[in-house]
């Protein structure tokens, strides 16, 4: 998760790019403690874990979806990436989508 904070630095002033974290936690106390500790600079929302499984097909966390400005899901990274999570990877996906291709 720290790599998302680092990646976001590049886009924080870009009105065309949004980062949103979706928590599927059931234990609110624990979630709030985590959020206080991490202090994410982008919105954090919640979805029930049942919906995450049935609507998004999520069977592992973290699962990251990259969605184009046309609302179409383009990339999905489930779990850690095979070559390691890094801000460069995240930027690559975002820049790919910003180029419209």
């Amino acid at each position: 998760m720290p790599h998302l904070k680092a990646s976001f630095a590049k886009y924080q002033n870009d009105p065309k790019v949004l980062f949103v974290l979706v928590s599927i936690d059931e234990d609110m106390k624990r979630l709030n403690r985590y959020l206080n500790e991490m202090k994410f600079p982008f919105p954090v929302v919640r979805l029930s874990s049942d919906d995450a499984q049935s609507v998004m097909g999520i069977d592992n966390t973290p699962s990251t979806f990259y969605i184009g400005s046309d609302g179409i899901v383009r990339y999905m990274v489930v779990g850690g990436e095979s070559h390691g999570d890094s801000p460069q990877r995240v930027s690559w996906y975002i820049d790919q989508l910003k180029s419209g291709k």
């Binding site: 998760m1 949103v20 599927i24 979630l31 919906d51 995450a52 097909g57 979806f65 179409i72 990339y75």
Partner: protein, 372 residues
């Protein structure tokens, strides 16, 4: 009325004892198929084909069943799809029915219908123009003519590229040049391939119908170009850039390209990373495609890495490949890739409804996580 009698036969085996076993199987098969219980219906009908008395009717029933499965069942039941693999069986069964009883009008009629479907299927909607095929063959011939001058290969590429602007000859030429050790030339052709691919899609955007399809084609072209670039860099022993390019190709192809996985395997092996090499070779072999000699090389490389597999190498390989294919099938079924993001009942952290309209029209990273 007829159906009622058949139903009774199934429900009351004693009443059916007046019939021959073959007639019983035929009736049972037809009833089971009326209920769309295919596996049992096929078994019963196949049994009925073995008796001369019921053979024609049973072959016809099987032919009709396979015709339905092959061409007609798409979405009749939610989630069902046509099964192209049984189309040949449909024709064979109906021909068998007519062979057994040439006067059987219903079988002839069913055969004509199935042949009609098959003929419509066989129409190639976009046959490649003969001159393009000839230029492709000319270029491809340099894959084996190792002593022909490089200039000839480049001329063949130019001629083909002028005739039709798609990127495929650039991919072919880059691979041929890599095989000849002409890495720098291969690199510049792979770079052009990426540009040519983008341009070709831009020019024909409307042909792709859906944004997801054109996006997929852009990604395929770029992936193939990145893979060939990485592969040429691998031979130049520029491993850092080779890694970056081959991994870029892997992301663009979603890890589903045989050549790219094989190349990543070779790279990892050279870099003394046997675990990674093993994964890439296994991924490669679990995918369709790839020329037989390369598949053979991947298998041998794996054998060297996994010499001590418990229960023998072949059994181990078989189990690994089956597992990978099943995983991929399962994830493809539920994958959202190239589909619109579904509506989600999001709430804020303190439980109030979250207005998602602000997410529209932006490039969005959506990360699902849990703090546990």
């Amino acid at each position: 009325m007829k159906r009622l009698v058949i139903g009774l036969c199934v429900l009351m085996p004693l009443a059916a004892s007046a019939q021959t076993p073959a007639r019983e199987q035929l009736a049972r098969g037809q009833t089971l198929w009326d209920q769309r219980l295919s596996k049992s219906a096929i078994a019963a009908l196949e049994a009925a084909t073995r008796d001369a008395e019921t053979a024609a009717a049973a072959h016809e029933a099987l032919g009709r069943l396979y015709t339905y499965k092959g061409w007609l069942q798409d979405n009749v039941i939610p989630g069902w799809h046509d099964e192209p693999s049984v189309r040949a069986k449909a024709l064979a069964e109906l021909k068998a029915a007519v062979a057994v009883d040439p006067n059987r009008a219903s079988a002839q009629e069913a055969l004509r219908a199935a042949e009609g479907y098959a003929a419509a299927e066989a129409v190639d909607p976009a046959p490649t123009r003969p001159e393009i095929r000839a230029l492709d063959a000319k270029l491809q011939s340099y894959a084996t003519q190792r002593d022909a001058p490089v200039a000839e290969v480049l001329d063949a590429l130019d001629a083909r590229a002028k005739a039709q602007a798609d990127p495929s000859p650039f991919f072919t030429a880059a691979q041929i040049l890599i095989d000849r050790g002409e890495y720098d030339r291969a690199l510049s052709i792979a770079e052009r391939a990426a540009q040519v691919s983008d341009r070709f899609i831009d020019e024909n955007l409307s042909a792709y119908m859906l944004p997801g399809k054109s996006a997929g084609s852009y990604a395929r072209g770029r992936s193939q170009a990145a893979d060939l670039t990485g592969w040429a860099l691998f031979f130049k022993q520029d491993y850092a850039r080779a890694t970056a390019k081959l991994e870029e190709a892997e992301r663009l192809s979603q890890g589903a390209d045989f050549a790219n996985q094989f190349h990543l395997g070779e790279l990892a092996r050279t870099q003394k990373a046997p675990q990674q090499a093993r994964e890439h070779y296994l991924n490669a072999l679990s995918l369709q495609g790839g020329p037989a000699p390369l598949r053979q090389r991947a298998t041998e490389a794996l054998k060297a890495l996994q010499a001590d597999a418990a229960g023998g190498f072949d059994a181990w390989l078989d189990a690994e490949l089956t597992r990978r294919r099943e995983d991929r099938r399962a994830s493809a079924l539920k994958s959202l890739i190239d589909r619109p993001l579904p509506k989600l009942a999001l709430t804020t952290v303190d439980g109030k409804p979250y207005d998602a309209s602000g997410l529209r029209g932006k490039v969005l990273l959506l990360n699902f996580f849990a703090s546990w």
